[in-house]
Amino acid sequence: MSVKELEKTATLEHAGDGQHHGDGILGEQFETLEQQNTSYLIGMWAFIVQEVLFFGAIFAAYAIYRFKYVTEFTLAHHELSVPFGTLNTFVLLFSSYTMARAVRAAMQNRHKKQAFYLFLTFLFAGVFMVNKYFEYSAKFEHHLFPGGDYDAHKVVKHAKEKGELRVVEENGREFYELGKTRDGQFTAFTKVTPEEFEQRTRLFFGFYFVMTGLHGLHVLIGMIIIGILIGRAWIDHLKNKPIADFMPVEMTGLYWHLVDIVWIFLFPLLYLIGR
């Protein structure tokens, strides 16, 4: 480009700046709204990439132990509540839908509609967290939280009932044989000491709590942000503001879909293995 052309584009870019910088939407560091919006988008995507690696590392660690202690993990995962997990999956999927509607409404500057859909999203997120609360309390009650009073006896009991665990004695020591019963015939896959069994199921619940805990934290952070956005949209509605910046909603939407996708991976990996 020649200097003349460059100067021309630059002047064009500058033409609107007084107007934009004044209305509280265009940040002072930006020249145009287009530049600001794409900056926000790239930034948000970079953040999402960061989140993927953050969760990716723990998924990798989980995969390794799922592979290493496949039978123990399968037995432990029977203690997770599939109905709760399924319900939460649908709740989150619906919240993603309402979030998408909120983003659309924001782009159209329909503040009331936007507030409504954000509120629905917030509500679904709340339902998710309440469900999580019940799930967690059940785990605590059954001593399945890997803290001081962790106790695998419930896992052992259920596995025995299912015919997937057999207690055997060798040289006066107790062992668990893990396997499957088919046609009344027990086939052992592996033999572990009760301590090992305790450790490995504890590891499963450790992963369960860390992964769903981190995910839950993301949901909570999302709820806080959505809460703020509801307030802002409602104020815009009351003030009858013709144009508002839709980028915060757009970016929160991206974040919310990420939270949703993480759950989409967590649900089968934790709740549905061995089914």
Binding site: A10, I42, P146, L203
Partner: protein, 557 residues
């Protein structure tokens, strides 16, 4: 809040236009955030250096008479944790990246000024936790927090320190995201990718690593804290875990982290060498892409930290090979820099001395890295002082020399005052001599088999250790000098009246004022010439399209 708006007669600049404490602590100005970072990491540098001094003093005698072995372990951990996480990682990116990036590309600020400030608060919160952990009895895990020691056995506030590092890590991620977007979207018209100064390219590569690597170490360290608290066997074999998994995850970040430290320094060297030999950087495209190549290949070499810890031999062979490949882009840089100085008019100012020092020391550090990357020699050299010497040549001889070069080079731009040149040269010499005296003997010690992290050693290694300790006192003095004379120069240094005291090229030197305006540019400049256009000294890199009244206010809320 009482606003002390600037009322003096001089033209206001970013330093003096507002002077309240709040105007600094709540600033969104990238230049002020750079200064916040500069002040904080300087303090951490002194603390980490103090710990190093204790280590070297202890090792002056074979029995290690100064410290008990327990305190000694805490000292090297303190030194490592502070220097890596609180000094080297943020050093050039957070100080000079913040200060220069928008100026170099012709932008009014980074893309996300608020995130930028948040990054500093995350960093300070993390640093505070680390310091609390250190002062409440200290930790002795080494900076690597290797499991199962860190997760099951180590006493002290390991979890607190880990949370601190976690927070500092997110500060680094925020900086990375910010810079990526800034470089993509905030370039002035005409500032094409291949007109960018090479410092910007280096920062781009660094930011990639920060965004892609740091979250992995964050979650890994979090898992160590979880294992410590809840006794879940993720990494402790006694609990059913796998310590090698920790090492994989840890080095997946921590090896690329070495490039977070060295790449920005390489960017600085490109700027300084060309400015002080008045020549365009030779092979611009190669130097630019070698930064990216180092960042990308850097992600594929982490296994070379685990040759002797139970990794499969075949994995070792691949990692060894990939590690050698990193030498290629590194060598491209060194050769291109040499070609840059070749037939240039070399000016022997302080920044140039540091830059030349960098080249020599980095070559030694890099080449000894090849010895360590070869599996056969690695078995002999790993966990000896050879390693210690190697990475100090890269991180201290490389990264800190680059940092000091940058500090002197841009000091007049940042503060409006010139540092005393004579003292600067003296300090640069002391640092170079002291550094070599400290760390070269360690190569020999390591080759002879002295293990790292030991508190005492056999008599026959006394001479080399005393040499090393003597060198460290020279080095320490060399580092103290800039602290003193730079602080002195803030009040008594010669006031810089010209905007470009070095005759350097680049938008940051072509600002109207010697010290930047709070808004950087009155109008966004239009860039018409490539970077380092020393062949046409009369032509500015960019021009300002058309005047507009300076708007004061609104920037810092």
């Amino acid at each position: 809040m009482a606003t002390a708006t600037y009322t003096g007669t001089e033209k206001p600049n970013y330093l003096n236009w507002k002077t309240t404490v709040a105007s600094w602590l709540l600033t969104y100005d990238h230049k002020r955030i750079a200064i916040l970072y500069l002040v904080s990491i300087s303090i951490f540098f002194l603390l980490g250096g103090l710990a190093a001094a204790f280590i070297r003093l202890d090792l002056a005698t074979p029995k290690g008479d100064l410290l008990t072995s327990d305190i000694y372990n805490k000292m090297f951990t303190t030194h490592g944790v502070i220097m890596i996480f609180l000094f080297l990682i943020p050093s050039i990116p957070a100080v000079f990246g913040n200060f220069l990036l928008p100026l170099m590309i012709g932008a009014r600020d980074v893309a996300f000024p608020r995130l930028n400030l948040l990054s500093w608060y995350f960093f300070m919160a993390g640093a505070l936790l680390v310091l609390i952990a250190l002062f409440r009895g200290g930790i002795d895990t080494g900076w690597t927090f290797y499991t199962p020691y860190s997760s099951s056995f180590a006493k002290g506030e390991v979890s607190l320190a880990i949370v601190g590092v976690f927070l500092a890590g997110f500060a680094s991620i925020f900086t990375g995201i910010n810079f990526l977007v800034t470089i993509h979207k905030m370039r002035a018209p005409g500032m094409t990718w291949f007109r960018l100064p090479l410092f910007v390219w280096a920062m781009y590569a660094t930011s990639l690593i920060q965004v892609l690597g740091t979250p992995v170490v964050a979650i890994t360290l979090l898992l160590v804290a979880v294992e410590r608290t809840f006794r879940i066997g993720i990494f402790d074999p006694n609990l059913g875990g796998d310590p090698i998994l920790y090492q994989h995850l840890f080095w997946f970040y921590s090896h690329p982290a070495v490039y977070i430290m060295i790449l920005p320094a390489m960017g600085v060297i490109s700027e300084v060498l060309s400015a002080f030999s008045k020549r365009r950087v030779f092979g611009y495209h190669f130097v630019a892409f070698s930064s990216l190549a180092i960042a990308i290949i850097g992600f594929l070499v982490w296994g070379h930290h685990m040759f002797s810890t139970g990794q499969s031999m075949y994995a070792g062979i691949v990692f060894s090979f990939l590690t050698w490949i990193v030498a290629i882009p590194s060598a491209i840089k060194i050769f291109n820099w040499m070609a840059t100085i070749w037939k240039g008019r070399v000016h022997w100012d302080t920044p140039m001395l540091y830059a030349l020092g960098f080249m020599g020391l980095f070559v030694i550090g890099g080449l000894t890295g090849l010895h360590l990357a070869a599996m056969a020699t690695n078995v002999h050299l790993t966990d000896t002082y050879f390693i210690v010497a190697h990475f100090h040549y890269v991180m201290v001889g490389g990264a800190i020399m680059g940092y000091l070069a940058a500090l002197h080079f841009w000091w007049p731009k940042m503060t409006g005052r010139m540092y005393p040149e004579g003292w600067g040269k003296l300090a640069a010499m002391l640092v170079f001599v002291g550094f070599n005296l400290t760390f070269f003997p360690q190569f020999i010690l390591g080759y002879m088999g002295m293990p790292r992290r030991y508190h005492s050693y056999p008599e026959e290694w006394a001479v080399l250790n005393v040499l090393s300790t003597a060198g460290s006192s020279v080095l320490g003095f060399g580092y103290l000098l800039p602290v003193i004379y730079l602080t002195w120069s803030l009040k008594y240094g010669k006031v810089v009246t010209e905007r470009n005291p070095w005759g350097a090229r680049g938008l940051e030197w072509e600002l109207v004022d010697p010290v930047p305006d709070p808004h950087n540019f009155e109008r966004i400049p239009i860039v018409t010439r490539p970077a380092y256009d020393y062949a046409h000294p009369e032509e500015p890199t960019g021009f300002v399209p058309k005047p507009r009244p300076v708007v004061v206010g609104g920037k810092d809320g």
